[in-house]
Amino acid sequence: MLKYVLKRLLLLIPVVLGITFIIFVVLNLAQGDPAVMILGQDATAEALAAKRAELGLDKPLVLQYIQYILGVLHGDFGTSWLGGYEVLPEFLHRIPYTILLGSLSMFAACIIGIPLGIIAAIRQYHFIDYASLALALVLFSLPSFWFAMMGQILFCLVLNWLPSSGVGSLAHFVLPSITLGANILASQLRMTRTSMLDVVKQDYIRTARAKGADERRVVVHHVLRNGMLPVVTQIGISFASCMGGSVITETVFSIPGIGSLLINAVKGRDVPVVMGTLIFIAVFVGVINLIVDIIYALIDPRVKLTA
């Protein structure tokens, strides 16, 4: 088990290095001189040259990358070109908000989506099945920023039930979590339903019925455990899309998390911040996938974690 975890973490390293290297190269190939960006149009040629040297921009790209990664390994993620702040402390300050937002929305999505999916599958062709499917479809098709904006206007500005933006209390997170979770809820619901219906068709469910198990027992003891397997994988995938979605939600609700940091960095082409954020997210997603695989192996006896 420990060996497996270690191996998976080791395998994560080349993946993260590879993608960050590609992005590093592409970002640096883009037009525009970072020194000009930092010092402004009026800076003297000497000042610009000094700045370039300071940033290591006069060295070959590969060397710059290696230097950057060595820095990262020492906990030095560099300094923002735009804001001049150190990336790592800024990060540590912002991460809790993003994680809180992500976990709350995942939690909400699972706790509503999965049971609804189960009920929809059990009551196939029933009103509740159609209603859940319709709900999933609407949530799946709505742009989340629009959903967030409309929710904000309705509940925060018109009805004044919830604070409209910023952080401070848990109430601030209610609406953001709902809007971020909506899409995930939809995919959890559909996945659960499909998977359950798939399991119901299996031979061993017929065996269970032939044993004289009643409907409740068939569902609880036989369908659920098998039907949850693909859902677990789906949760892992959802975490990744949750990280993507948080950019939008954090922007709409002015939450000072990683997402809003990234969007500003992208707009200003702030390489150190973009790089740092992507490294963090790649590692985070990798670890989540590892956890999902471990959970999967725990509930499915057929899967063995072999290093």
């Binding site: 993946v15 590879g18 206007i153 707009k267 997603v285």
Partner: protein
């Protein structure tokens, strides 16, 4: 529950597999509704110059600003008095057709990469899949944002950024679909008479493996339409004054509270387009794989 294959009907219909798919698809009311809705939207957008001149999109008319929907301005006007209907119809060009473009590019590239990985296996497979893994390490949305950061904004750059983020997924779907077919007996039968790899791929493997890929392409189209709108909304997609559904929402966001139609209409347009696409995707999946139906 499994029902053994019945001996076939006596009629010698000669209906091909795609014929069967279309036959089943046609019976699915939601999917047909989605198809008609999508075709209608596309036709309306393509034919826009016939009934709305383009200058309506940019012509500002402060006197008429914030006109609620009426006979003259079907969807009302925005803060500069521009006609919202014209902006939406022309904006659809980007939202819908760029979405199609992204899907087409990633479809073609994904088929080539996934096809090579799946059919040849071995080293080709591991090299391609290592790259795919790398690109899959970052959520699609963030990946396209990073590419936008590097390339800058604009229609062409957005097209590249979104395609890059979708290619890995297509590659995976195509690869797994091909790998299951590679060892099928009809492929072996083709090898038996010395059929070349190219002919085996083109004639025997690709036509059979396309089902899941097409379904995934349809569902991806929905997601891409959403992504275009999201990037537009975040201000790193297509920039104003070029209309695009996400950008329209973004530029009007502070006025929505008092002029709700400014938010409702573009939002509903996006949702309808995505919903239509999803209906089609679901319908195709059921039609291609009758087992999923009950």
């Amino acid at each position: 529950m499994r029902k053994k294959k019945k001996s076939p009907v006596k009629t010698v219909s000669g209906r091909s597999v795609w014929g069967m798919v279309w036959f089943r698809f046609r019976k699915n009311k939601l999917a047909m509704a989605g198809l008609f809705l999508l075709l209608f939207m596309m036709a309306a957008i393509l034919a826009a110059p016939l009934y709305v001149p383009y200058d309506q999109v940019v012509k500002q008319n402060i006197v008429e600003k914030f006109t609620a929907p009426c006979a003259q301005h079907w969807f009302g006007t925005d803060q500069f008095g521009r006609d919202l209907f014209a902006r939406i119809v022309y904006g659809g060009r980007i939202s819908l057709f760029m979405g199609l473009g992204v899907v087409a590019i990633s479809f073609v590239v994904g088929c080539a990469l996934g096809g090579a990985a799946g059919y040849f296996g071995g080293r080709v497979d591991s090299v391609i899949m290592r790259f795919v893994d790398m690109f899959m390490a970052i959520p699609a949305m963030l990946l396209s944002m990073a590419v936008v950061a590097a390339l800058g904004t604009g229609v062409d750059k957005l097209l590249v950024a979104l395609s890059i983020s979708q290619i890995p997924r297509f590659t995976r779907v195509v690869r797994s679909s091909i790998m299951t077919l590679r060892s099928q007996e009809f492929v072996e039968a083709a090898k038996c008479c010395g059929t070349s790899s190219a002919r085996i791929i083109m004639k025997h493997i690709l036509p059979n493996g396309m089902g899941p890929v097409i379904v995934s392409a349809t569902l991806t189209l929905g997601q891409v339409i959403l992504s275009i709108a999201s990037l537009g909304f975040l201000g790193i997609g297509v920039s104003s004054p070029t209309p695009e559904w996400g950008t329209i929402l973004s530029e009007n966001k502070i006025h929505i509270r008092y002029h709700p139609y400014l938010g409702l209409i573009p939002g509903v347009c996006i949702a309808l387009a995505v919903m239509a696409v999803n209906f089609i995707g679901d319908g195709l999946r059921d039609a291609l794989d009758p087992r999923t139906k009950n």
